[in-house]
């Protein structure tokens, strides 16, 4: 409970600081809205001439990728900015500051900010999520709702774990920005692969997205099962919580390991 209270205080301070330059804040939000909007527009243009891809209709694909974008945006509110900045924090020696705080450095860097620039992505995702729901056939039984909710939660954990992982890499390789960009860049990031059913890629990529960087569990496997698509391994649809547990634990251990071995870059 005291964490929530602390988070509220931090966010109020953080937003006050940002609101001092409210023009740039508004511009940031508008620019992000357009950037994400163009991505969706492009998606619609790609499907303008086509009805289906690998047995999925346009709206089914849309439903799948907004499902994963929803949890991704939520995860990024907390983890994206601090983990992206880890390389910079360590290079400049500013990370030492967080080691002297009365709460853990991870907790501190996560709580002290709120990455509002993901709001447009969340809003547009919700919009297209609702839009896609009108024309797909899922019977929302209590079981299906529970299944979907648990997978959303797992997907949140998986995304957060991958983000923390890229941040924790900064403890060793001081330039982690490139890894972050390779994974999550809006133009060429690996995460974009999961905006479409992964059976359009070769086996190698499928393996990579399933077992090494488990993005496929954030949308593809569970949603494919909900929509009644034939999966080569139907059991994968139920593995998301397990993968979330494993990747979450791995990220936690790596972070702690990195923290213990951290030698300051000098202040």
């Amino acid at each position: 409970m005291y964490l929530l209270k602390m988070y509220r205080h931090f966010v109020i301070i953080y937003m006050k600081g940002k609101l001092a330059y409210h023009f740039s804040l508004v511009f940031e939000l508008i620019a992000n809205t357009i950037q994400i909007g163009v991505y969706f527009a492009g998606f619609m243009v790609i499907f303008h001439n086509f009805d289906t891809i690998a047995g999925w209709s346009r709206n089914e694909v849309l439903f799948m990728f907004t499902t994963s974008w929803l949890t991704y945006s939520l995860s990024c509110f907390f983890f994206w900015s601090p983990m992206k900045d880890m390389g910079q924090l360590i290079r400049s020696g500013k990370f030492d500051l967080y080691l002297t705080r009365p709460i853990g450095p991870m907790l501190y860097i996560v709580l002290q900010q709120f990455q509002y620039t993901f709001i447009p992505r969340l809003v547009l995702s919700v919009f297209f999520w609702l839009y896609s729901m009108r024309s797909i056939t899922i019977e929302w039984t209590a079981y299906a709702v529970l299944f979907y909710a648990i997978n959303m939660l797992s997907s949140f954990v998986i995304f957060s774990a991958i983000t923390i992982f890229t941040g924790a890499v900064s403890f060793w390789a001081v330039k982690s920005e490139e890894i972050t960009s390779l994974l999550t860049n809006n133009n060429h990031g690996l995460k974009n692969y999961t905006d479409y059913p992964i059976n359009i890629y070769g086996k190698g990529i499928g393996f990579l997205l399933t077992f090494i960087i488990p993005y496929a569990f954030t949308g593809y496997y569970p949603v494919a099962s909900l929509l009644g698509k034939g999966l080569p391994h139907p059991g994968f649809a139920y593995l998301s919580p397990l993968i979330a547990l494993i990747s979450g634990t791995a990220a936690y251990l790596l972070w702690n390991y990195g923290l213990r071995h951290y030698n300051s870059a000098g202040a």
Binding site: F23, Q35, N49
Partner: protein, 263 residues
Amino acid sequence: MRKYADLAMIGIKEHTAYAGSLWANFLAKIVYLYMQYALWTGLFSSNTGKNIPLSQDETIRYIIVATLLSAFMECDVIAWINGQIQSGDVANQLIRPLDYKFMIFAKHIGTSVARFVIYTVPLGIVISIFYPVRLFCREQLLYGILSIILAYMIQFLYSVIIGLMAFWLIVTWPLNMLLAAIYKLLSGAWIPAAMFPEFLTVINLILPFRAIYAIPVTILTSPMSFASICENLLVQLIWVAVLFITSEAVWIVGKNKLIVQGG
């Protein structure tokens, strides 16, 4: 001329100074290209028999050629000019006995040469190993190259105009981000322009974006009549003229407005 060549050398050196990130950038292009390849292949193979403006081969070749072109065409001209105007460094450039726009252009060419060698050539080699088809229509290659040169000029002049907006705007990145998003979609660097729905095609007719990727890449990859090649080249020529005059006007008006504090 000699001086401009030196500036081009500076462009090459600046671009190759940080070798570490070059690998990541190169890998990113391969990640991007494979995704596009898989996406379009997937789309075509599950929609056989439908009437689609481009064939599967043409689409894949379009995507590859567009990526190869963008690997050396896209430079930071907007950011350079923005930065120089905002920091006041542009005053130092103005006292030099060289033309400002030509200086930027020389540096741009240098960067392009560096990017061509670092990205386009190795990417071309990787593609020729994994996707060994003839990428270009041989009969139209010459027109294609001419079209690339025109596209290169349009891209540069467009970037100059947007960069010079820093004379009037205090914060330039929202405008840049907005235009970059529109540019990405409408230029045809991402999705083949032939695939666009009707209303986007109409909007695109009055905008310069398609002259940067859609026209040269289409000439290079799709067989077309001599008349339509000429028509496309003419459209590009008109845009070169329009953007050149606009950039001159913006430069003259902006320069008179410029006040640099201190020295």
